[in-house]
């Protein structure tokens, strides 16, 4: 058996759905010639219909856990020029007073222009740790403010640099889905960051879509969607922006 087993070795993966599955019956098996299964914690191989009881302690004991989106540092494993985002939400139904308790989702692409998402095939599995990079959720404080620690987004063909924002009221009802644009001009942050090969940005600005040509931002001539950016490549940048919603 020992020798033949090695010729027999085949690797395979077992996939299992989460529904509890009860072993229907334990059967008397012909185990002669096999190497047995280790620890003898009472392998009750009876011949009737019975159910193998778990020998382990009960558990896990689940505890209520917020969505993994709820976090202020949304970087996970993504690298790039540091960016702090300070977004203030104001209420157009209340004379543009700040809106406390609003839920704010943000998401943006990494320095190479990729979003976290499932791959092309619906059958793809993912590792359960850290697959939601550059996505986060915060609730506005008494000043209507949420802050996120992230990296300066890169860009991809057809779009100007942008950050997606979805604002909900405290009950989870959508108030506004919008995007934040980045300022342009000589030596603006987007130009400097995308030239920063030391920080892993490789695209420069060749082929870049500017705000005026961008499908989303081109109609925003008043600059309502335009953020204020301060800082430097070496020290990192701070993005400040106000979004007015019908709260």
């Amino acid at each position: 058996m020992e020798q033949s087993r090695k010729q027999f070795l085949k690797k395979f993966l077992i996939g299992a759905a989460s529904a509890p599955v009860i072993l229907q019956a334990c059967k008397k098996d012909d185990l002669s010639g096999t190497s047995g299964s280790g620890s003898g914690s009472g392998s009750g191989s009876g011949s009737g219909t019975c159910t193998v009881a778990p020998t382990e302690t009960a558990g896990p004991f689940p505890t209520i856990t917020p969505s993994s989106l709820v976090r202020s540092d949304i970087r996970d494993d993504r690298t790039g020029v540091p960016l702090t985002m300070n977004i203030t939400i104001k209420n157009t139904n209340n004379n543009c007073a700040v809106l406390a308790g609003a839920i704010v989702d943000v998401w943006h692409c990494d320095k190479d222009g990729y979003y976290s998402e499932y791959g092309g095939t619906a059958m793809q599995s993912v590792n359960y740790t850290g697959v939601h990079f550059l996505r986060g959720r915060q609730t506005t404080d008494a000043n209507g403010l949420v802050s996120f620690t992230t990296i300066f987004p890169g860009w991809y063909s057809g779009r100007a640099t942008h950050i997606h924002v979805h604002i909900y009221n405290s009950a989870g009802t959508s108030l506004k889905i919008t995007q934040i644009a980045f300022p342009e001009g000589a030596n603006n942050a987007t130009v400097l960051v995308n030239a920063s090969t030391a920080n892993g940005y490789t695209k420069g600005m060749t082929g870049y879509t500017y705000n005026a040509s961008d499908n989303i931002f081109s109609d925003d001539t008043a600059g309502v969607q335009l953020a204020t950016i301060s800082g430097s490549v070496s020290a990192g940048y701070v993005l400040t922006h106000i979004i007015n919603v019908p709260g």
């Binding site: 299992a16 529904a19 280790g38 392998s43 969505s67 939601h132």
Partner: protein, 156 residues
Amino acid sequence: MIDAASPGAWEKLVFDSSYNEFKMQAQLYNQGNRQKSFAEMLLNNPQAEKLHFLVSTSVTGYIQQLNGKIPGVLDNLGRHFLQFSQYRFEIINSDINNKAAHQVAINFFSEPMCWHDSINDFLLVSDVAATVTEESILTNLVQLQPFLSVSSIKEN
């Protein structure tokens, strides 16, 4: 598969959390809540396919609480023995107005295993990573059962 009738505490938390997240994220693809069911949303906007991924964010915390052990599959001694790091979360059905219609599935993918032999409807398997000595190797016997499948295979 997890739905309103799932009995376990873990399943109930996954059910509640994923339904709340579905109702929030669905508004991305269903502004004004014109469509009610997930199927209608998919039909109307193929982008709604992304909801599988977006809603999965609500259950990653619960998946981490499993400590890498696949629930529901016991070996013939009644032990959880399958380790996982890969999973796939899917929305089977849902409806923003009817929580009872919400159904999700989580598939867990075990680490690679060696298959040594089949004994009736039991598989004799061992961890690929387990140290192979000349004398012996630790194995598990697991019964073929509903919702247990082999997802990929490689000959050595």
